[in-house]
């Protein structure tokens, strides 16, 4: 159950709802603006009217998006890559994080520090050499290069996140399992992993997002238009100085939907009912 045991009452309740509502409004307003841009005819980014639904609204941009643009193909491509990255990164992070949490082996601190260090270097400067390298191993115009690159982007955070979460799982559980005769692998899969579901959910969401919205690396590695990912497809709506704002915003709204769906399905683990209250001392 939830952390705070006291039921919410009186003035606290009012404040809580007020704060939540305020921030929800704050969150959603710009997105409503994006939505209204997609409904406005004539590619208008700016408008003097504050109305969310413009008086001359049209859903034409959405029709155009699916009928006249290979939007669905881009979506398919992005889905394939993002799911692959999610599976790959989550598996690697779940195991590596566990090892970092439980075993004080020699290179542990250095490796963990190393992971964080990879994030410190400005990405743009890594692109040119990365590209040269991926070309030489034949990753041009194929998804492998992207999957590896994206996983590498997601790993530092996900490994640390898993490790941090494992750290909060008391050691006594593994001891109990060992006493019951379970080996390390079984303990890991049957006892520990289920308890780490919230962290796994976050890890999965994060890996998916990393792959789903990445543009820079994909733009340089993929040249076959049939293999375009969603961000690359969306970028195509801008030319010289004119951006097809209608199409772009419609695309942006549609692109966000899978992420929200994923979040909704994962969020039941984010508020999982698993408590460790049964373990004392």
């Amino acid at each position: 159950m939830a952390a705070g045991v006291k039921k919410l009452s009186g003035i606290r309740k009012v404040i809580a709802y007020a704060v939540l509502s305020l921030f929800s409004l704050f969150s959603i307003y710009p997105i409503l603006v994006v939505f209204s841009i997609s409904l406005r005819p004539g590619d208008r980014l700016l408008s003097k009217s504050l109305a969310i639904i413009p008086h001359n609204y049209t859903f034409q941009t959405y029709v155009d998006l699916f009928v006249h643009q290979p939007f669905l193909r881009w979506m398919m491509n992005s889905l394939i890559i993002s799911v692959a990255v999610t599976v790959f990164a989550v598996s690697l992070a779940a195991t590596a994080g566990y090892a970092f949490s439980r075993y004080a082996f020699k290179l542990r601190d250095a490796s963990m520090m190393g992971l964080i260090m990879t994030q410190m270097f400005p990405v743009t400067m890594l692109l040119l050499p990365l590209f040269i390298m991926l070309i030489h191993i034949g990753a041009y115009d194929s998804y492998w290069g992207l999957i590896i690159a994206y996983s590498a982007t997601a790993l530092p955070f996900t490994v640390w996140q898993m490790k941090g979460y494992y750290d909060t799982i008391p050691f006594s559980l593994e001891e109990a399992a060992t006493i019951d005769g379970a080996g390390p692998l079984v303990t890991f899969y049957r006892v520990i992993l289920p308890l780490a579901l919230p962290a796994l959910a976050i890890t999965a969401l994060f890996s998916f997002m990393t792959a789903w919205s990445e543009y820079l690396v994909a733009a340089v590695l993929i040249q076959d238009q049939d293999l375009f990912t969603l961000p690359m497809g969306l970028k195509m709506f801008s030319s010289n100085m004119e951006v097809a704002w209608g199409l772009y915003s419609a695309g942006a709204i549609v692109v966000s939907i899978p992420v929200v769906i994923l979040f909704l399905s994962l969020s039941r683990w984010l508020v999982s009912g698993l408590t460790l209250g049964s373990v004392k001392g």
Binding site: V19, K163, S213
Partner: protein, 296 residues
């Protein structure tokens, strides 16, 4: 200590860890070394394929650039302010949502939206909202309090605009991490504290904060690093540094040097300096918060 004594299973440990490390090494090591090397050369437009060793010239060039320190200061300010709001708002919202709230999932979903929608368009939408003529913010401010702020045409107005945009973009992430972390805190601890007569604040200080730490610390560390190096938001909201190239943080300068002018040697040295700064920070921070400690 939270360590197992499976000493005979060293191979298992490495099996767990190796795949992740190999992937990282593959992708990051070569580009990193490449940059280290060229930071000591004069690689630029004039000699791109035929560069020469030039020692510390680039490094000195970067440090003696008058605006370097000003933007360094701005970048630090940018990072600190962002993180304070990201974590503050994120944790606060997580705590509230975690309570017995009706409509929990609706709020949760609404609050994650800034993270879900592609950054490119939301950053530009915010830029549009800060427009002093057409922007929603000034239109609202005008209706409510009768003032209008020249956001994007002044240096600090533009900075504030980038800041607000990035706060909007970043708090959902911290909120989710905190939410996840709150799940691992057994309610029995709160129950016991309740019985002992501890106030909500004491409970928060003694139970919530320490147990949330191991989960928040990686997020904050990486949050600091990512925010420090967040090129996209500043570039998009300020349209590449406007007004007058004053709205920059260090990485947008690097981008300009490297990709607009192709001064690769210089940009590489610059990146190394950024890297060094963050390294010192990361080291100190990790050590102080003892992120490798156990909690029980």
């Amino acid at each position: 200590m939270n360590t197992l004594s499976y000493t005979k299973n060293n191979r298992l440990i490495y099996l767990y860890v190796m795949p992740a490390m190999i992937v990282m090494a593959l992708v990051v090591l070569y580009p990193f070394i490449y940059n280290v090397v060229i930071s000591f050369t004069d690689m630029n437009l004039t000699h791109f394929k035929d560069y020469h060793f030039s020692g510390l010239r680039n490094y000195i060039g970067v440090i003696t650039e008058s605006t370097f320190w000003y933007f360094f200061f701005k970048t630090v300010l940018w990072t600190v302010l962002n993180l304070i709001f990201h974590v503050g708002i994120g944790v606060m919202l997580a705590l509230i949502i975690n309570e017995n709230i009706k409509g929990k999932s609706v709020f949760r979903t609404l609050l994650i939206l800034p993270w879900a929608v592609p950054q490119y368009i939301t950053a530009l939408t915010w830029r549009g909202m800060f427009n002093s003529e057409y922007g929603a913010i000034n239109l609202l401010l005008d209706k409510l309090v009768g003032i209008q702020v020249p956001w994007l045409s002044t240096e600090w107005g533009a900075f504030a605009a980038c800041l607000i945009t990035n706060i909007w973009l970043g708090f959902p992430f911290m909120m989710i991490i905190a939410l996840g972390g709150l799940q691992s805190i057994p309610s029995s601890l709160y129950e016991a504290a309740e019985i002992d007569g501890a106030s909500r604040w004491t409970q928060f200080k003694n139970i919530t904060v320490p147990l949330l730490k191991p989960v928040m610390v990686p997020a904050i560390t990486l949050g600091v690093i990512w925010t420090f190096n967040n090129f996209n938001v500043v570039w998009l909201v300020s349209n590449g540094g406007e007004p007058a190239d004053t709205t920059h943080i260090l990485v947008s300068w690097v981008y300009k040097a490297g990709f607009t002018y192709f001064r690769m040697g210089y940009a590489a040295a610059f990146s190394m300096i950024i890297f060094g700064t963050l390294l010192i920070f990361g080291w100190k921070f990790i050590n102080r918060t003892k992120a490798t400690e156990n909690v029980y």
